[in-house]
Amino acid sequence: MTSYLARRAGIVLVSLFGASVAVFAVLAVLPGSPAQVILGTQATPQAVRQLSAQIGTNKPLWDQYLHWVHGLLIGQLGQSYISHQPIGPQIAQALTVTGPLILLALAVGTLVALPLGLGGALHNGKLTGALLGGLSQVGIAVPSFVGGIVLIIIFGVKLRLLPSSGFPGWSEPGQALRSLVLPAATLGLVEGAILSRYVRASVLDQLRSDYLRTARSKGLSRARALWRHGLRNAMVPLVTVLGLELAALIVGAIVVENVFSLPGVGQLLLNAVGNRDLLVVQDIVMLLAAVVLVINLVVDLSYRLLDPRVRD
């Protein structure tokens, strides 16, 4: 187990290193130096040189790379080339929106996926099962931004029940929560639809298992046998899926924040892309990649802890 842990952690580190080199390299080959991009085409060469020296982009690439990675490791994310604001606090501020959004979406997704998947498995081969399966298929084919816009049309424009855009800040907790309802529902429904297929497959697996047949032949009802013997085993693969779902939610939040104009990490990232604010792009992409990779690692390890058969 320890050697496995070490190997997996090693893979994560190598992945992160590869990702950092790739992200840095892709953005470093941009035509025009960052100083040139910031100052525009009208700037004098002298002004460009001066700014390059100031933000350190006149140094060799490997030096810039090491400086950036070192900064990431000690939590110094640097300053935006465009707004000259420190990047760390901006990300922290954005996380106060993205974090709660993801947690709410995770709750919605789980609440959708469990009944949908369980129902689909128990009614497998019957009309209800086919309908539930069709429902999840529909949920998968609807892109989150389309789903979000449909929710905006229904609840924001027609019924005027919920705010459909913007975020008032946590100084008004009630209003803030209200403006997270539609985004979280959008994210959660899409992920829940995907998750429900895993739930269904996992429960179906249990229903076909020998020990469940034994439990049934002992005289337990199907529901009781499933509850006592099946569900606990069905949960093991679901932990993996839940983790993968969390990773998917982090990426999905980038899109959904854009739909609902929420000032979260995703919007910060897309604005930075639009403004060519490269350091901000680099920092956020690396942070998100790191989070996703670590989640994958934790999922993988917990899978082994929960299911002794997977060990070594």
Binding site: S15, I149, I254, V281, A289
Partner: protein
């Protein structure tokens, strides 16, 4: 020589039976119909759309559905139906290119990893693990920040992100075939590894790969539309479904239907390709006597 016609007749019969089985599978039939419809619309749009998709008509901006504009017009008075038809080309094009990128890189890598094992296989698998762990959307964002937004950038990013999926599917299925008795016989007979891959492995894993490619196609359409929506893909004024939704969002209170049409188009396209892929996989599993 006399056996040849019989063989051909047998093959035809098998094909016809295959097509009939395929048409009787609800997923495959529904998916095939949807895909056929979208391909037909895209082909028609090459030679005919009710109006030119880029033709601006300020006197008819945001006009709702009418006889002259069945799905209404957008804020510049452009005909929505025409743009919807033209947009199907972007989606199909994006799907074809990104799946092609993934196939050209992923399938040979997967075959190589299965046939030769050892260090090259380990390198291929580890690389694909690293790529798999990196979220595709982030890759697309980085690429588009560097290269600027375009359909090509989006397709490239999506295609690269799909490579590890095909590496895995190809390798695991190829390993099964390579472990079979007839491959052992072919080896004993002195067939070269490449010939074994071509004669035995590829034909046997083709259906599985096609099913997987169809699923990836649906994901590519979904991803490309998302990138267009975020302004990271196809740039206006070219008609793309994602971009149409992005602009329609500004007019939700005046004309909510404006965003519903392209949304429905994306939904149907994604559903079509994913059903087709799923149905094909089901048929494959049924033929091999596996449960789905």
């Amino acid at each position: 020589m006399t056996a040849a016609p019989v063989e051909i007749a047998g093959a035809c019969q098998r094909d016809r039976a295959g097509i009939r089985r395929w048409a009787r599978n609800p997923s495959a039939a529904a998916g095939g119909a949807l895909v056929g419809l979208i391909v037909a619309v895209a082909l028609v749009s090459l030679v005919w759309t009710p109006y030119p998709p880029l033709a601006v008509d300020p006197s008819h901006s945001l006009a709702g559905p009418s006889w002259s504009h069945p799905l209404g017009t957008d804020q510049y008075g452009r005909d929505v139906l025409s743009r919807l038809m033209a947009g199907s080309r972007v989606s199909l094009y994006a799907g074809v290119v990104s799946v092609l990128v993934a196939t050209v890189a992923g399938v040979p890598a997967g075959l190589l990893a299965a046939q030769w094992g050892g260090v090259p296989a380990q390198v291929v698998l580890r690389l694909s693990d690293v790529l798999y762990a990196f979220p595709a959307l982030l890759a697309a964002i980085v690429l588009s920040a560097a290269l600027g937004s375009s359909t090509t950038t989006a397709m490239l990013a999506i295609g690269i992100a799909f490579v590890p999926v095909l590496v895995r599917v190809t390798r695991s299925n190829a390993l099964v075939v390579l472990g079979s008795d007839y491959v052992l016989a072919a080896r004993a007979y002195g067939r070269r590894p490449l010939a074994i891959l071509r004669r035995h492995v590829l034909p046997n894993i083709a259906t599985t790969l096609i099913a997987q490619m169809s699923l990836l196609f649906s994901l590519a359409i979904l991803a490309e539309a998302g990138l267009d929506y975020l302004g990271l893909g196809t740039t206006p004024p070219t008609a793309s479904w994602g971009d149409m939704i992005q602009t329609a969002q500004n007019y939700l209170s005046q004309d909510p239907l404006l965003s519903v049409w392209p949304g429905t188009a994306i939904f149907l396209a994604v559903l079509g390709f994913s059903l087709l892929g799923e149905g094909t996989a089901e048929l494959r599993n049924a033929r091999l006597g596996r449960s789905a």
